[in-house]
Amino acid sequence: MSMQTFNAWGRVRRLDLESAPLVSRFDDLPLAGMSAATVLPFGNGRSYGDSCLNEGGGMLTCRTLNHFIHFDPYSGVLACEAGVLLSDILELVVPQGWFLPVTPGTRFVTVGGAIANDVHGKNHHVSGTFGRHVRRFELLRSDGGRWLCAPDWNAEWYAATIGGLGLTGVVTWAEIQLRRIPGPWINVDTIRFGSLSEFFTLCAESDQDYEYTVSWIDCTGAGKRLGRGLFMRGNHCEGAPDLPPYAAKAMTFPFAPPISMVNPLTLTVFNELYYHKSLRRLSRQIQHYQPFFYPLDGILEWNRMYGAPGFYQYQCVAPMQGGEAAIGEMLEAIAQSGLGSFLAVLKVCGDVVSPGMLSFPMPGVSLALDFPNCGDRLHELFARLDQVVAGVGGRLYPAKDGRMPASLFQSGYPAWRDFSAFIDPRFSSSFWRRVTELA
């Protein structure tokens, strides 16, 4: 037990909290020496807001549970402790012809974190969320109880813990079903589009034949320029392309500058792509999986670019019905405010059912973008966006959130009351108190 400093990825808050590492998956939770009334598991801190923080409480750090348990290269079933990073899994399995069934936009998250937020990726329209591929896991409770959870075993605990925001107990290990791949390369099409409706047409055309789809959309363009962007779609590349082996480059962003540097940076990248002379409406290339799935992982600690005040991410999902109009309205509001980052990520989520009671994705369209933390004006904008989201029956993603009002959480996640029954009595989080205690 000791005091350690905890940051979420958005760096808006820095908290000094009592913390204890989980040393062995066979041990009880190390609660005896802790004076804090409540605790929360902490993975790799890649959640943006306060869902991975527990102000005034204690933290159980899970990265120390980092052992593989077994891997069957014939069936692609992998069991590992919950603190293993997805990047460790990739390093192990890609050379053996396997890949993560679902991956978020960074590979530096733990298996426990991926379960607790039931993360999604560019293949949501085909494969659903991460939780769907979790065959079973062990849940360790503060009273020493251990629950083996699977879709057909303690099913209600399985459903509560997937997307359960770390509140139901600690996941000590999990078994996941990987997916076969022919190699590390992805065939990628990049297509320019000029409007939101063009984006939706591209999705409808591509979702059948492409496993991975995602778009970047320009948030500065108002009026006629609204909704221009780049649509990326890809499939694992069959056969071995005649390419030199991929050499990963990584640099670390060394310090937090006093002001945000993100806009000029993303602007340059986007413009380069968008206006690149040789980029026709459609360009084809073969990319290594790392830059394709994890474009930002090449710059370690890029979140420091937002400077000392930190930043927020706003990610919502709106049902298809009314979704296009809602996204248009939000983009218009963001463009007018001039507060957002230059680029937003747009993705159509499919209708594969999420296994968790509080899983974020729903059939519809998801919009995500970063906002440098600039105080009141930003919160006014958020309030406007919230109205649009609530109006259309959408919801915000807790993994990315540090500010949503309780009312929006509760309307977006009507199962939250039933979920409360599964919360471990010793567990809590800043996020959970914020979105429920005012009820």
């Binding site: 000791s2 998956r25 066979f26």
Partner: protein
């Protein structure tokens, strides 16, 4: 493919180093006190590609167990070409100041048990005229400081013993590597507040694996500790007595 013995194998630094070796398909013989943790690590290293993993339970302070353990390792792996000695404890300095018994026990674990192992290993490797012996000492051994001189003086013994051994064994082609880590984020230092000088065990592991391949010597991990310790060693005694570092 190397045949590697690791004493104190479940130390975070040793574990990270074992993973580097497992990925290369090496054969590993893991020694520690806790059978369950050894089993967990062994599973992990097999998944990561180790050609073979054997485990052995031993307390390093049990000197009579050293030779049988070495025999078992050589037999299980059919030979031995690299050894990493990693076990250690960070004593409660204030408690040691009040107890001769505790102080001596800490020096026993951190220094004498290592000396015992090195003595046996040196003779075995010297006969075969090959092999790498790596031992984890610490920058704390470079100069005794008020805050942890019990630990520091034990590590000083390890560093100097290894230095002498290196010179002795150079003639027989045996490499002796002394690793001197600075602050590393491991269970040993769980209660410390971490800052910019802190390294992850993976970083130290990469340095250890490289040092074992490239010929020995005393290696600061990460390298910048060489300069920090050079300055600390240069501070004259009359000043050192008046400052707190």
């Amino acid at each position: 493919m190397k045949k590697i013995l690791i004493v104190g194998a479940i130390s975070a630094i040793a574990e990270a180093t074992a993973r580097v070796w497992a990925q290369q398909g090496d054969y590993l013989f893991l020694v520690a006190r806790d059978a369950q943790k050894l089993a967990v690590l062994a599973e992990d290293l097999r998944v990561r590609g180790a050609g073979r993993v054997e485990t052995y339970v031993m307390d390093a302070n049990d000197y009579a167990a050293h030779a049988p353990m070495l025999d078992a390792a050589e037999q299980a792996l059919q030979g031995l070409d690299t050894v990493l000695i990693a076990h250690g404890v960070l004593p409660d300095q204030a408690a040691c100041e009040q107890s001769v018994e505790l102080t001596l026990r800490q020096i026993d674990t951190n220094a004498l048990s290592v000396v015992g192992l090195l003595t046996l290993l040196a003779n075995r490797f010297e006969q075969r005229k090959a092999g790498v012996i790596a031992v984890i000492s610490s920058v704390a051994g470079d100069r005794g400081r008020a805050s942890n001189y019990v630990y520091g003086s034990a590590k000083a013994l390890v560093s100097e013993f290894a230095s002498g051994l290196r010179q002795r064994l150079a003639a027989s082609g045996v490499t002796v590597v002394t690793i001197k880590p600075g602050f590393v984020d491991t269970p040993m230092t769980a209660s410390f507040k971490k800052g910019p000088l802190w390294a992850k065990p993976e970083k130290i592991a990469a340095i250890i694996a490289k040092a074992c391949d490239s010929g020995g010597g005393a290696v600061y991990a990460p390298w910048f500790w060489f300069y920090i310790m050079a300055i600390i060693k240069l501070i004259p005694e009359f000043v050192f007595g008046k400052i707190k570092i």
